[in-house]
Amino acid sequence: MPEMFLDGRPLSVANGTSVAAALALGADGCSRTSVSGQRRAPLCGMGTCQECRVLIDGRRRLACQTLCLDGMQVQTRP
């Protein structure tokens, strides 16, 4: 059961959970803010559309292709 942080709030998820799923488990499911200020959430689910990009431990990664790990810091509002 990885214990991580989503926008600073602690969250515990099942093994093998994707960060994209964690966004919905721990908050409103949104991943980023678009260039015109809209909140967006994962769309394609398979690493193509880039809508689910988040900051993970300071690096920009795709939430749908990243598994949650212990101590991971995920930010959707950098």
Binding site: S34, A41, L43, Q65
Partner: protein, 418 residues
Amino acid sequence: MNEATDLLIIGAGPAGMAAALAAASSGVHIVLLDDNPLPGGQIWRDGPQASLPSAARHLRDQLRNCANVRCHAGTRVIACAADKTLLVEDAERGWQIRYERLILCTGARELLLPFPGWTLPGVTGAGGLQALIKGGLPVRGERLVIAGSGPLLLASAATAKHQGAQVLRIAEQARFGAVAGFAGQLPRWPGKFFQSFSLFDSHYRTNTHVVEALGRERLEGVRLQQQGQTIELACDRLACGFGLIPNTQLGQALGCAVEGQALAVDAWQATTRHDHYAAGECTGFGGSELALVEGAIAGHAAVGNSAAAQQLWLRRARWQGFARALNTAFALDPRLKSLARGDTLVCRCEDVPYGELVGHENWREAKLASRCGMGACQGRVCGAALEHLFGWTPPAPRPPFSPARIETLLELEETPPS
């Protein structure tokens, strides 16, 4: 930390796994690369809410037991570094891989067409929702509408229902006659015939398509055109995908010819570039059975085992028939080209609305004027949409093929591995 291998396979879905296994018996050194955390591709995506068929588990176990196959998960191709050398990146580092032969098993992505409200949180692709659920997305008790076209709608609905979602409607744009004609042919492929019974859902409607996703901050409902009538359904999620399109970008960048939106291959699954093969959905949509047999043919052919490859031609022809029937039945209705309004965003990376794109002659002109396709996805979503809507040919892919770190790009300066 650079790497050299006899055979490099890009993509560890059914085609890539079958290719690796077929080639492995020859004893050559194989590297299998995939940008997902686990092998299996989309259809066999594993996760806390996934149930893998035993065939997938078996294939995965067999691969694990091949000492000459090295798997790199979570790794994407960033650029061509030199002849037969690719620059790749994972979460930690970038490096070059030099290969003698390459098999492209880059799969397909969903065709996502713009309609009002499609950028609202709560709207996903149809296969997209299925992939997200397998990865642990909670849908229990949620009201879902699934729309678009193709058998993936039923598969996605089945996964959602299995996880406790309430599927209100499955909206298939194709007409009843086309779908019934397709279903009537299914007994030719008995496995598919029986699978179709397990997927059938009483909320399935043909000749029905999405008109608008409704909501302010997130999705609250959906407006559908259902067999000539406009209806509205309150719902929590809309999963909408209009079929699959082959991922040809890397193949194109490597100089492989494209024919009818897919990588062109011969009977040996060889592309137009020597020593470069392709198999599975990147050579045309046909499902996992076709991908498996194409992958095996490519794997055998790439290590010079022509006899073993040839033995599989008949099986491939059988599944090619299924693919043809599928692609004819679910051809997209021209009505779907007029869903977007002037203020509907088409490019979701740069937030470019439809109104700024109409009136341009081609992709290049539209891009220079609007920044359409210049964002992080590099036109993978809007390029495919505009090809469908306006017939614009998307641009030839340029490196970096995916957003990459500067440190990775600096690896291009390294001497390639010998």
